[in-house]
């Protein structure tokens, strides 16, 4: 009788890459097969943008409001953030589902490294976010928005939306690992939504007052939205590009790291 077959340790970097890609593909396929769950994340921000553009066109004349042709240019970054926030926690809710139905155990009982298990899901969600961003930019352009920063600015928009998904997805994965409950993870969505509203996403902080202004100024979403908006409204600037990308990049490293640490902790608890 043959002894136990010990294959070559499939932990090489290349294999981890293939495994991550395979798991990312899995989450993309899942999104594609549940398109009805992706569509609201596109339709709702577009609808809100249409309504706001009609309502707030006169606000453009307020002293202190950035000089823009149309309110559409002003809220493009906000609409993208909103679209991304829908489904951004899907990396977490789907992980919670995998925990609930035992699929995660299947992954963990195989020789796959821990990193692809989490990052695969996040990568899938990030690709979906980039796709949604592209659709939103296209619709805005069709309706007359102008992106002063050109194609480079669009690339930054795509990258920022992907990075934000990693940030929110990382947090939601921490919650999924800690609670193992889809409901608990899903409950973070309103929080993200409110965080976007309490930033400069829909109105410049210079026109806010009191505590709200203070909250908005110290809201990391504002730190991302302001440089993004300058890229759209004013034009290309390396400083703005780095600022817009830097904040979510640093946060993503933190939250994805936290998710990996949470998984490691869960698995090694004696």
């Amino acid at each position: 009788m043959s002894g136990p077959k010990v294959g070559p340790g499939p932990r090489s970097l290349r294999l981890s890459g293939v495994q991550t890609a395979m798991l990312a593909r899995r989450s993309l396929v899942a999104e594609w097969r549940q398109l009805f769950s992706v569509l609201p994340g596109l339709v709702f921000p577009l609808l809100l943008a249409a309504v706001y553009t009609r309502q707030f066109q006169r606000a453009l004349g307020l002293p202190g409001f950035p000089e823009v042709e149309s309110f559409l240019d002003f809220i493009l970054p906000a609409s993208i953030l909103q679209a991304v926030s829908f489904g951004a926690s899907s990396a977490g809710t789907e992980l919670a589902l995998d925990i609930e139905n035992g699929f995660l155990d299947r992954l963990l009982a195989s020789p796959v490294a821990r990193v692809p298990v989490l990052v695969g899901r996040l990568a899938g969600a990030a690709i979906v976010a980039a796709g949604k961003t592209l659709v939103i930019v296209a619709v805005f352009v069709v309706f007359g928005a102008e992106i002063a920063g050109g194609p480079a600015a669009v690339l930054v928009l795509l990258a920022v939306s992907s990075l934000l998904v990693l940030v929110i997805g990382g947090i939601s994965q921490v919650l999924a690992i800690r609670t193992g409950s889809q409901e608990a993870v899903g409950a973070t969505f309103p929080l993200i939504f409110v965080t976007i509203f309490m930033s400069s996403a829909f109105f410049p902080t210079s026109l806010m007052s009191g505590w709200f202004r203070m909250v908005a100024q110290n809201n990391p979403i504002t730190w991302i939205v302001d440089p993004l908006r300058r890229l759209v409204v004013v034009g290309w600037s390396w400083t703005d590009a780095v600022a817009a990308l830097g904040v979510p990049a640093v946060c993503a490293v933190g939250t994805v790291g936290a998710a990996l640490a949470a998984l490691q902790r869960k698995l090694s608890r004696p």
């Binding site: 009788m1 294959g7 294999l15 396929v29 035992g102 963990l108 009982a109 020789p111």
Partner: protein
């Protein structure tokens, strides 16, 4: 014989709850080992420790010669695992799941295709390979789960309650496949079950687990032999249980029985039956129904724990 699954004083606690309270066992290569016990006995917890999904709180466990904590990666490469409830993504097709599972085990695309096709054919799912798993019946899911756990030709297979909730036909099909794996491929199988018949049919050796402890261990025939006498179960209808018990006491030791029944291990064997009925008649105890059973694993369980496994409300 070489031991391929080994536990020494294996313990797992969840807070104050002791799920596995120090078990020792050895499973030799090529054996089908049955872990029999009711819900909550600690079967799944033990399997999760053997499959590296849960760290032991105490003691040691080795699988294929590797420590489940220190050499977890090596353990994962040689085991196949099909856990309770057939954890399968319902949005994916069988073909996609096979490919995913193959990549997880570092198997090349070409090998995955040929081996996956072969496995799906073996479990009778070739025709449904392109269908989403959400359209599968419970039996089909279990068979797919088994196929997935075999993609890397594991030498040791862990099956956690593989037939719970399945209809009799699907159960039989799965038993046949497990039997074939063991006899044709020499795969060592560690199987947990709450079904006596399953353990009896499939396992070369059985450990009965209750309350986190192994209470009996041996081959089905060895275990049954320890109980010895056949069990006589009497239903006295509306009659007097206590009077019946008084009579039966003279023929052997009392055994646990469902409510409204009295059971005794007939020390003199089946030959004593006529004598028992006469004695009951003389004592004025009416018998509504009686059964005489050769010792079963349920008797072994009852003798070890004071409870019956069957009729324990364990079915889904």
């Amino acid at each position: 014989m070489e031991s391929v699954i080994e536990a020494r004083g294996l313990v797992r606690r969840f807070g104050d709850i002791v799920a596995v309270a120090g078990i020792d066992l050895d499973v030799t290569q090529g054996e089908v080992f049955g872990f029999l016990g009711p819900n909550g006995a600690g079967k799944s917890t033990a399997v999760r420790m053997f499959t590296t999904l849960l760290r032991p709180s105490g003691g040691t466990a080795r699988v294929g010669g590797f420590d489940v904590v220190a050499d977890a990666g090596a353990v994962r490469r040689i085991i196949g695992v099909a856990l309770q409830d057939a954890a399968i993504d319902p949005l994916m097709t069988a073909n996609e799941l096979v490919r995913l599972q193959a990549v997880l085990h570092g198997i090349s695309r070409a090998d995955a295709r040929s081996r996956g096709g072969e496995l799906l054919a073996r479990v009778g799912l070739s025709g449904a390979a392109k269908r989403r798993v959400s359209t599968y019946s419970g039996g089909m899911r279990r068979r797919l789960d088994l196929a997935l756990s075999l993609i890397h030709e594991p030498s040791i297979l862990f099956l956690d309650e593989p037939t719970t909730g399945l209809d009799p036909t699907s159960r039989l099909a799965l038993w046949e496949e497990v039997g074939r794996l063991n006899s044709e491929h020499g795969t060592t199988v560690f199987l947990t079950t709450q079904y006596l018949e399953e353990a009896d049919q499939l396992a070369d050796r059985i450990a009965i687990i209750d309350g986190g402890r192994i209470v009996r261990q041996g081959s089905p025939s060895e275990l049954k032999a320890t109980v010895g006498a056949p069990t006589l179960r009497i239903d006295v209808g509306d009659g007097d249980d206590a009077a019946a018990r008084n009579v039966l006491r003279r023929f052997g030791s009392q055994r646990p029985a469902r409510e409204g029944r009295v059971a005794v291990g007939l020390e003199g064997g089946a030959a004593q039956l006529a004598e028992v009925i006469r004695a009951l008649d003389q004592a004025g105890v009416g018998v509504a129904h009686f059964e005489l059973d050769a010792p079963s694993l349920d008797d072994v369980f009852a003798e070890a724990t004071g409870r019956r496994l069957e009729g324990d409300g364990v079915d889904e």
